[in-house]
C-alpha cells in the first residue's frame, strides 16, 4: 500500500468543501504543511487547505506559480477537461449532476425507459431459458 497521488506542482485536485465545491483546480504552489496555492481558469488564484482538496490522477507540466495565461495553455495542452470527463470518477460526477437536474417529466420518461429496458432483458432471458434442456 504505497501512495500514488502526490501533492506536487501541477497536480489537479477537486475541491470538496466550501464555496468552490466541485471545481477542478491545479496546485500551483505549496504554502506550508497544510495549505496550497491553487488556480483554475475560472477562479481567482487562492490558498486552500489540503483537507478541502481531493487529489486526482491528473498532473500537468508547469513551473512553480505560472502566469494565468501559461497555466490555461498548459491545461489545454494536457487536455485536463477531456481526461477528467473520460475518467470514471469524472463520469460519475457528471451522471450525479444530470440526475439532480432532472425535472419531473424527465423522471417520468426515465421510468418508462427503465421499464422498457427491463422488458427487453427479460425477453432475452426467457429465450435463453427455453434453450436449456429441461
Amino acid at each position: 500500500m504505497t501512495f500514488k497521488r502526490y501533492v506536487e506542482i501541477g497536480r489537479v485536485g477537486l475541491i470538496n468543501y466550501g464555496k468552490d465545491y466541485g471545481k477542478l483546480v491545479v496546485i500551483v504552489d505549496v504554502i506550508d504543511q497544510n495549505r496550497a496555492l491553487v488556480d483554475s481558469p475560472d477562479m481567482v488564484r487562492s490558498q486552500i487547505n489540503f483537507k478541502r482538496l481531493s487529489l486526482t490522477d491528473i498532473k500537468i507540466d508547469i513551473k512553480r506559480v505560472p502566469k494565468k495565461k501559461v497555466l490555461v495553455a498548459a491545461m489545454e495542452a494536457a487536455d485536463v477537461k477531456g481526461k477528467w470527463e473520460s475518467s470514471s470518477w469524472g463520469r460519475k460526477l457528471i451522471v450525479q449532476k444530470k440526475r439532480a437536474s432532472l425535472n419531473d417529466f424527465d423522471r417520468f420518461k426515465l421510468m418508462l425507459a427503465k421499464i422498457k429496458k427491463a422488458g427487453v432483458v427479460r425477453q432475452e432471458l426467457a429465450k435463453l431459458k427455453k434453450e436449456i434442456p429441461a
Partner: protein, 228 residues
C-alpha cells in the same frame, strides 16, 4: 427622451427660491398673457352652484351618538402567481380528490384561484378551480395558444342556488336526482377546451402518459432536493 427641462425657480435651501417674486412674474410670462387678453388676466366664468336640496330632519335618530367605522377603500388584488406557475404549465395537485394528478394550468381567475383542466380524457380532471398554495408548478409547459378560456370566471364555478321548497320528502328526492348530473353545456365547454389541448399534447412524446399518471414520492426522493 428629451433632456430634463431646468426648473424655473430652483430651490437653493428648503423654502428659499433662487428667483424673486417679481422676476418670477416676468419669467412665467404673465405680462404677455395679460397683454393678449386686454390688460386683465383671463378668468373662467363662475360656475352656477348646484341648487341646494333642503334636507328634512329624520323622525327618529339614536339617543347616543353612534360611531361610524372608518372607511376602508382597499381593493384586494388577486394572489400573486409564483414565477413557476404560468399559463400552460403542468401542475401537480397536492390535496383533494385529485391529489397527485398532473394537470394543465389555463389561467388565473379574478378571485386568485387557478383554472385548470386535466384534460378530462387524459386523467379525469375536469375544468376546475384550484388554489395556488396546494399546487407544485413543474417546469414542463404545454402549448396553450389554441385554447379560448375567456368565458370562464368564478361565477361559472359557483354553486347553483336553487329555491328551497317546503315540500314533502318525496318531492325533495325527485329534485335531488335531477341536480346530480352535469348540464350538457358544461360538458361541451370541457370538450371545447380540451380539443386543442389534446392536439398540443400529442406533439410531445410521452406527455399524454405523463399527464395520465399520478405523482408520488418514492424511496430515495427528497422533495427539497428535487427539481420540478
Amino acid at each position: 427622451m428629451a433632456p430634463k427641462q431646468k426648473a424655473r425657480n430652483p430651490e437653493l435651501i428648503p423654502g428659499v427660491g433662487k428667483v424673486s417674486r417679481s422676476k418670477m412674474y416676468h419669467k412665467r410670462g404673465l405680462w404677455a398673457i395679460k397683454a393678449k387678453n386686454g390688460g386683465k388676466f383671463p378668468v373662467h366664468a363662475k360656475q352656477e352652484a348646484a341648487a341646494v336640496v333642503e334636507e328634512k330632519q329624520p323622525k327618529f335618530y339614536p339617543a347616543d351618538d353612534v360611531k361610524k367605522p372608518l372607511s376602508n377603500k382597499r381593493k384586494p388584488k388577486p394572489t400573486k402567481l409564483r414565477a413557476s406557475v404560468t399559463p400552460g404549465t403542468v401542475l401537480i395537485i397536492l390535496t383533494g380528490r385529485f391529489k397527485g394528478k398532473r394537470v394543465v394550468f389555463l389561467k388565473q381567475l379574478t378571485s386568485g384561484l387557478l383554472l385548470i383542466t386535466g384534460p378530462y380524457k387524459v386523467n379525469g380532471v375536469p375544468l376546475r378551480r384550484v388554489n395556488q398554495a396546494y399546487v407544485i408548478g413543474t417546469s414542463t409547459k404545454v402549448d396553450i395558444s389554441g385554447v379560448d378560456v375567456s368565458k370562464f370566471d368564478d361565477k361559472y364555478f359557483g354553486k347553483q342556488v336553487e329555491k328551497k321548497k317546503k315540500g314533502e320528502t318525496e318531492f325533495f328526492e325527485a329534485e335531488k336526482q335531477e341536480k346530480n348530473t352535469l348540464p350538457a353545456e358544461k360538458k361541451d365547454d370541457q370538450k371545447a377546451v380540451d380539443a386543442p389541448l389534446l392536439k398540443a399534447l400529442e406533439s410531445v412524446p410521452d406527455l399524454k402518459a405523463y399527464l395520465g399518471a399520478r405523482f408520488s414520492l418514492k424511496a430515495g426522493l427528497k422533495p427539497h432536493e428535487l427539481v420540478f
